[in-house]
């Protein structure tokens, strides 16, 4: 009874601060009731050198080398990066540029592994069962070593979030089990099937950031998952201050900033991170991966992927090795012929359209949708003129005025667009979804953001060039003066003898290096 009352109060509290805007797209969660299955091994695996946000990795294996499952095959370069591991045992076939799930269609350096079918695992890491008494820094290093990045789709290196910073004490950990994208059910299945793993992962992270309070957020349409999580929670004695909160179904409830507001009534300031208001927000899949990395000593080589869409006869969730070719996975589900079919990487609201299925599953792959062209094009019919109906403003969870931003982006008025907070757009797609004129608003925003980013880069480059050029002019001036002074002194001592000296002597390497130092850090 008290629990019920508390829940009711929670629900009422929820109403008090719920994020602005939002939409209610059709759910299509057809794969929700089906148990997940392990994906049979493929013959080839492609591991791109960058599957996370941050700097790319560099290979540490050679072509022809044999590798085991879980073996590190690429090391991270730079702080904001996580390593890549072999998803199965086999031989390195080649290291070359290969296509990745990215709208540009460009490839990046990747390692291709030919599986040997034995799936032998490497056992170097020791399980840390006694994590309660382990230094958080060690656990954090384990999370980094295992290649963890946010599996919700943003793939931000997880270990960075698990930092212990005295300036920003974490008060609450939020476990994001919202999964507001239509069609996708992989987090839903994870919660149903691996509730204990997820809770253990949560406990580990709470230990790492030294907090006892956590919220598990689940949307109303996953009542069964909430029930399972509550039961699992009740069975544990170490998680008294962890609550399961059921939020009303509304897209984009799962967006980090919107979720934090819905749960705590606090906003993450623009340009700041959740940690700045004492919140740590992690996806359920990532949480389970933390558990596996710490207690099972397993690197991130597998994730849950939803295969669905109206062109898929047998939708479902698969536990897929990272690097598995998508064409193979679609083939497993009976989709061989891709004419008249559009494939999406991720959900329909924020996922990317792929040019072809010959790309691997990466760490951010939460779903693969195959849509019939006819139904797909419904979302992309001919753009009409904006009638300023304001539906986009109503739907925008960031309270922007999208239709004005579109005008600005379209006519390249980027300064104005920035002043209208273009960069606070989270690209959730709610505006495009409700637009009666079928304007691809998000596409315009991405164009605008890309152009502004490029202009910024050019500006930084121009600024650096200006400094280098000014430095060079100064040096020339200095040389000239030095030369003049020398001439003078020469004339004084040996009057008739005129030394022929070049206008300005060759640049010395030190000079250039000095100039180089001047601008280091300015250039990306």
């Amino acid at each position: 009874m008290p629990a019920m009352l508390r829940n009711l109060a929670q629900r009422l509290g929820m109403m008090a601060h719920s994020f602005d805007g939002g939409i209610h797209p059709q759910q299509h969660k057809v794969s929700a009731s089906l148990h997940s299955e392990a994906c049979p091994l493929a013959s080839l695996y492609t591991l791109p050198m960058k599957m996370h946000i941050g700097s790319p990795c560099s290979p540490i294996v050679a072509v022809g080398e044999r590798v085991l499952r879980g073996q590190k095959i690429a090391k991270s370069e730079g702080y904001l990066s996580v390593p890549v591991h072999a998803p199965t045992s086999g031989r390195i076939l080649r290291i070359e540029k290969a296509a990745i799930p990215h709208p540009s269609g460009m490839g990046i350096p990747s390692i291709v592994i030919e599986a040997d079918g034995d799936d032998n695992e490497e056992q170097i890491l020791e399980p840390i069962n006694d994590w309660h008494n382990t230094d958080p820094a060690l656990l954090r290093e384990r999370v980094r070593m295992c290649g963890l990045a946010g599996l919700g789709g943003a793939v931000f290196p997880t270990f960075i979030k698990l930092v212990q910073d005295s300036r920003f004490a974490i008060e609450t950990v939020i476990l994001n089990g919202i999964e507001c994208e239509p069609w996708l059910t992989n987090d839903h299945r994870l919660m149903l099937e691996y509730a204990d793993d997820i809770l253990s992962g949560l406990a580990i992270m709470m230990h790492m950031v030294k907090t006892a309070s956590a919220i598990i957020a689940i949307e109303e349409n996953k009542a069964d998952a909430a029930l399972v999580m509550r039961e699992a929670l009740a069975a544990r004695d170490d998680m008294a201050e962890v609550r399961v909160v059921v939020l009303p179904t509304r897209y984009p409830q799962g967006s980090e900033k919107q979720l934090i507001y819905s749960l705590t009534g606090r906003e993450v300031s623009a340009g700041k991170l959740p940690i700045h208001i004492g919140v740590l927000c992690l996806n359920v899949g990532t949480t389970r991966a933390v558990y596996q990395a710490v207690v099972k000593a397993k690197a991130l080589t597998e994730r849950m992927v939803t295969i669905s869409g109206d062109a898929i006869a047998q939708p479902g969730n698969l536990r897929v090795r990272i690097g598995t070719p998508m064409r193979y996975l679609f083939g497993l589900r009976g989709l061989e012929n891709f004419t008249g079919v559009r494939i999406l990487h991720g959900g329909p609201m924020m996922g990317e359209l792929l040019r072809h299925p010959d790309v691997p599953v990466v760490k951010s792959t939460n779903g693969m949708l195959a849509m019939r062209e006819a139904s797909f094009m419904g979302a992309h019919t001919q753009e009409q003129a904006c009638i300023r109906c304001g539906h986009c403003s109503e739907a925008c969870p960031s309270s922007l005025v999208p239709n004005l931003l579109v005008d600005q982006c379209r006519s390249d008025q980027f300064e104005k667009a920035e002043a209208y907070n273009l960069f606070d757009c989270i690209e959730c797609g709610a505006c495009s979804y409700v637009c009666p004129s079928n304007i691809p608003l998000v596409h315009y925003f991405r164009y605008g953001k890309g152009q502004i980013a490029q202009q910024r880069r050019e500006k930084v480059f121009a600024e650096a060039s200006r400094e280098r050029s000014e430095y060079r002019d100064q040096r020339k001036e200095r040389d000239k003066q030095a030369l003049a002074a020398k001439r003078k002194s020469v004339r004084k001592t040996h009057a008739p003898k005129v030394e022929v000296v070049k206008e300005n002597g060759p640049t010395t390497a030190t000079d250039v290096v000095n100039n180089d130092k001047l601008n280091k850090g300015n250039i990306e």
Partner: protein, 355 residues
């Protein structure tokens, strides 16, 4: 080769066509009342306006080499209907045609078509007509709802003659068949120094009649009830939000209440203002025209308040008896600035604007 499109790859299914159609549907009660009051005359006027708007739009599109499929977005038909509903029943056919052409060409197409017009097309045409033909635009025929109407407007041939040849065709004097509108009446009497209450008495003004729409006026603006029904339909269908109609009407009511309390002889009571003239029509159908009104909620409230103040001021002090149309046009001018300054606070920012 797949054409690259950005997410989202799902759509809610709303369309401009449906939105316009919703507004046309919402105007049906008012249209029916207009036909009840002014018989065939109203029907002729509405059809003329709608057809000439559609035809003008078609010609414009053709001239600009655009696809005629834009005609199907229903916006031209809506403009025609709205224009017709703001005209007096005695408007001759050619004036209706001129108005429609103005509405489509000057009101909309010169700006680049639907979505880019700055002024409400129907209202700008209405104001052009009012200024060009002040007499015809302020002469109101007696409706069929009064006792013993001087003309049977349900008679088709009478209406046809009236519509195409004017009063001369019926060999009648204008005075015999026309009567003053409540607003015009009060304004005339007021300039003669007669107190408002007395003027209303002279007119035998009844609030109930005004609410149901039994007195005269522009064909579609008389019945508050019918217009409210349409307005509620629009609100329920989410075609408009409450901000503009509410702030507009509330401002007029508050201004009228304050001033009529201070000086009841000079200023009409709030109920009179709310029920009179084209206020309700403007508040629900003209001021809420999405293209020419602000997009943000705060902006819409500012817009409504501005319209309210202007309407009340023009009615109370101005040379014209009705100020609703002018006030909406005037506020249309301010929309870009309102949009700029009334943006909502963005998530994670202290205030809406960056600088």
């Amino acid at each position: 080769m797949v054409v690259m499109l950005s997410s989202p790859h799902a759509h809610g299914g709303d369309s401009v066509r449906m939105m316009m159609l919703t507004v046309v549907l919402a105007l049906m009660p008012a249209t029916l009342v207009s036909v009840y009051l002014f018989g065939w005359l109203a029907l002729l006027l509405i059809l003329t306006c709608m057809l000439s708007c559609l035809l003008t739009e078609a010609i414009c599109l053709k001239l600009m080499g655009k696809s005629l499929s834009t005609l199907l977005d229903n916006s031209a038909a809506l403009t025609g209907l709205l224009l017709a509903l703001t005209l007096p029943a005695l408007t001759p056919w050619w004036m209706a045609v001129v108005g429609s052409v103005f509405a489509i060409v000057l009101g909309k197409q010169v700006y680049g078509g639907l979505g880019y017009n700055i002024f409400n097309p129907a209202l700008s045409a209405r104001v052009i007509l009012l200024i060009s033909f002040p007499l015809q635009m302020t002469t109101w025929i007696a409706p069929m709802s009064i006792n013993m109407p001087p003309l049977n407007l349900y008679d088709f041939s009478t209406c046809l003659t009236l519509f195409f040849t004017g009063v001369d065709g019926l060999k009648l004097s204008l005075d015999a068949i026309s009567m003053a509108s409540p607003l015009g009446h009060v304004k005339t009497e007021w300039t003669l120094g007669i107190p408002v209450a007395e003027a209303l008495n002279h007119y035998q003004y009844s609030y109930l009649d005004a609410f149901l729409g039994k007195e005269t006026g522009s064909i579609g603006e008389t019945s508050v009830l019918a217009l409210l029904l349409g307005g509620i339909f629009l609100l329920a269908r989410h075609s408009i939000t409450w901000h503009i109609p509410f702030s507009y009407l509330a401002t007029v009511a508050v201004m009228a209440a304050i001033f009529s309390a201070i000086h009841p002889d000079h200023f009409a009571p709030p109920m009179f203002h709310l029920f009179a003239g084209g206020l309700i029509l403007c508040a629900f159908f003209m001021a809420t025209d999405p293209v020419s009104s602000p997009v943000t909620p705060i902006g819409q409230i500012v817009f409504g308040i501005g319209c309210g103040i202007l309407t009340w001021s023009i009615r109370s002090f101005g040379g014209y008896p009705e100020g609703a149309m002018f006030s909406v046009l005037l506020m249309n001018c301010a929309v870009p600035l309102i949009d700029h300054y009334c943006r909502p606070r963005v998530y994670g920012h202290e205030s809406g604007r960056k600088r």
